[in-house]
Symmetry: D2
Subunit: 299 residues, 4 copies
């Protein structure tokens, strides 16, 4: 499977050698779209898709994502970036050029429950998750086999609140070693320190097993059962220092009824968790998400 | 429209003259189903649908709803009820016989926003809500015309926290006058006193404009917008003394995204509120709901 | 209610005096976005939202919808349109300028079943359907009262296949008299002649009570029941000469199970029909739909 | 993983040693429920769940599924079955006793696309599919590794319409060898002969990649794209001799829009196919499905 996935990714990189994405965020003002599209046109780039959004009530912020094709992109890109910096200065832009052939390196943190990890591995095996799953780190041995059998390095690092700092030091070393762009907490269930969160700001995605802000914190299915809700959900979000309060990327729900006990809710919930996390990770990999304060714009 | 609805209801009553529902709740033990179905068989009743549920972990509670047809039901029913009381004693049952031709009298409490009231009126006009909408009470004049034009009595009773007791006295008089079985709070937006809540226990349905327990209390759409959720919801529940904490009957959700401001969320939410409240009211009218502690069993 | 709706619409028109939409369709080529956005910028217009789509495999068609604000729009608009025609010529554009304060005149064709008509009337009463519902025409008297009580002219024109031509002559006269922009078939159930369809091309919306292309033609709920499907749906589409084959605007579905007979399916289906038709009509009114061949692009 | 799954299944068998299901189908008549529940009570069995349904318009057919617990079930069961045959004769019942600890032997037929096979394997690995996946047969080598690495026997049998009979002879031999109770066509894409279909009547489940009866036959995603639908679906059904016309077990749908080309529709569709097939197989394994004519009753 590993080979299958690798070949799919290589083919994808070749097909998309000339494709890039430009993400922009700046104060709203006249002429932004005209200037940016003129810039791309002059550099021989053709806009494939373009999305924009203006957040009025909170101070006129403008957000844009442009995906474009440009012949000989690899040769031209440094020049284009230099030229664009003048425009960016003028409009006070916060911006990123992302090149599709630069496949992101992903680390997955897992614990005992394998369903979210397995969904990501499986999407990756099928060639539907265009990333390099570089490493899996877990505080349990449970998932070692399913990781290593796919040719992915696995690190077992036991964790608990007392040794948090030390655990994170080990984790960070590994993340640096594999040059990780994105960390996915696939039901990792451990709280991270503010230092760690800061270092991976907007590059650290969690799945919470409730429809946030309902059931923040531990044991959401147990509490959903106690409350007698008729739907349960899952929420994928970027991690911040406030537990389960980071910018929400995606949510979904499923129906339950009085016959569903906690175990049944968990099973229904796991299917929701899998697909919600998988969508959130894909959107991040496709550079579709702009974080603004405590919210996400998903283009 | 009024006549259309009245004719539909009369036809429904005639068609269902011999139809009844038996709701049972008792400690679980062997032989309940055998005994009850034998009882119905001996009295010439034919079971049309039957649902049961046993809640194991919390003490072995047994719940059952049987809908049956019985020739000459109206003549037989008092005898059947008397005979059944022996069975009920033996199994320590909490039970209700409900007769389908006994159409329930419903009062709707409304405020300024008409969408939930309108949905109920409209379902009723179409002959899809088998109830007698006997009276509408509102603390605003806004909806008077849409109520009176349908031939339904309308009472305007201004309300605010200071005069709560006095307002409720007036309301109770009206509810008694119309012999009300069910009170529906169709976005009434006023808190009721424990006395009122107690008097209409399990007969007082509210619609809350959030996916409870998220956004309990005031201004849920504003808070959903601030939190950046990707879905909003509505919850219909029986009212208890704890604000928005009563037994949930039904919930549903709709998707929103970064483009939706508070006004857009409200519009999306109103469609959800309408259908969630309407389903909850119908299930109550069809005697499908058994309240157990802070939860509902919906058969 | 009529007054309420009228006031809402007037307020909406005033708020949106300077707002317009530009819909473009042309062969794909470099520089379109740059040129159009430059044009708007030079004329003092600020882009509020912009959506684009390129249909690659079928010949490189480019589609765009821009919503913009422009001070003194009413004074400037004829000049802008003239200036734009040069750009349009260069890029071989098919385009439309739509001004938000030009509220569209809508005629609704109804028959016996009122649910779709009522939904539209109700959305309109609530100020959520920004149109002038100018007239309702029906081949049955059933809905007269609900139309006239809202102050909307109602015309009863009996219809059957034999007198189709003559019926349509009468209908067309009324449509001209009220200067109708959009005709909505709210479960009208009569087939229209090719002449009529041609005259209202892309301005004639139907709701079909199945998930097309399943159950094309008559009695879809009966056939859904016979087939034993687990979901039923509704489809809103522009009408063409081929029965139920026109460009689909919106679809939705609901769950059914073995307990649902044809009557139950109809009730479940009616709620779906209502919301699907209502969404399709709103999108048309907001100039979100571009028809391309037998498909729609909905921005 | 194999061991994990085996242990889960063994634990499940032990837990459910005393649990059985009784499926009944007979002409409707008074006293069925009373008689059956009396029978179970007398034999010391306690009803855990019970579902019934009466199909009125088509001749008064009665359907029932009872799940019960009975101490020493394994010792008692042959006696119970013998005693029950008298009741069955009296009511002209078609019935089955199913014992939960009798885990069903499942064969999966696959082809090139692995997603449906993988979902089933994965659910099985997680202990969520309570079956013995005894063998996988495919007309391509693609999935060999993912099957064998899980310790499941894999047979490669090339197939095409010309050699259908001969291929099926080989397949049948294998199915007999493994004592197969259920055959799942996980996107097998080959038509089976009437003989084969007859032999596995109501034990042969297929997944069709469209919302049947829309897009019966080949290339449904291509045709959905051509038609411009706004939703695509998947349908799981028992196989009959009429292509894609067998009794539907489960369906689901997902939203698509104009941006989704055939490849995108396939990806969206694959996720739907996976979950629809998985639900259908689980319901079959849990003895929840009764086939009646060309429909299913799913309790």
């Amino acid at each position: 499977m590993h080979t299958y996935s690798e070949n799919k990714i290589k083919a994808y990189q070749q097909e998309n050698e000339n494709r890039a994405r430009l993400l922009i965020r700046c104060p709203d003002q006249p002429g932004i779209v005209a200037t940016v599209s003129q810039f791309l046109h002059e550099h021989g780039a053709n806009i494939v898709t373009s999305d924009q959004y203006t957040l009025d009530p909170e101070g006129g912020q403008f957000f844009m994502r442009i995906e474009y094709e440009c012949p000989d992109l690899l040769k031209k890109k440094s020049n284009m970036e230099k030229d664009f910096s003048l425009i960016a200065d003028k409009f006070e832009m916060n911006y990123d050029f992302m090149y599709v052939h630069d496949i992101k390196n992903v680390a997955i943190f897992a614990s005992k429950e394998p369903h979210c990890l397995l969904e990501l591995l499986w999407e990756w095996e099928s060639g539907d998750l265009m990333a390099n799953i570089a490493v899996v780190i877990s505080n349990h041995e449970t998932v070692r086999e399913m990781v290593e059998s796919r040719g992915i390095p696995f690190y077992y690092i036991p964790a608990n609140p007392e040794i948090r700092k030390q655990v994170e030091e080990e984790q960070k070393k590994i993340l640096e070693q594999y040059d990780i762009d994105l960390v996915v907490l696939a039901r990792y269930m451990q709280i991270l320190t503010p230092d760690f969160v800061k270092e991976y700001k907007n590059r650290l995605i969690n799945i919470h097993h409730s429809f946030l802000p309902a059931f923040i914190g531990a044991k959401p299915y147990e509490r959903a059962f106690q409350r007698g809700v008729k739907m349960i959900g899952a929420t994928s979000h970027y991690v911040t220092d406030d537990l389960d309060e980071g910018p929400i990327i995606e949510q979904d729900i499923g129906r339950v009824d009085h016959r569903d006990d906690v175990a049944a809710m968990k099973k229904i919930g796991q299917e929701i968790e899998r697909s919600v996390l998988s969508r959130a990770v894909k959107w991040h990999l496709e550079d579709r998400i702009i974080v603004h304060g405590n919210k996400t714009i998903v283009f």
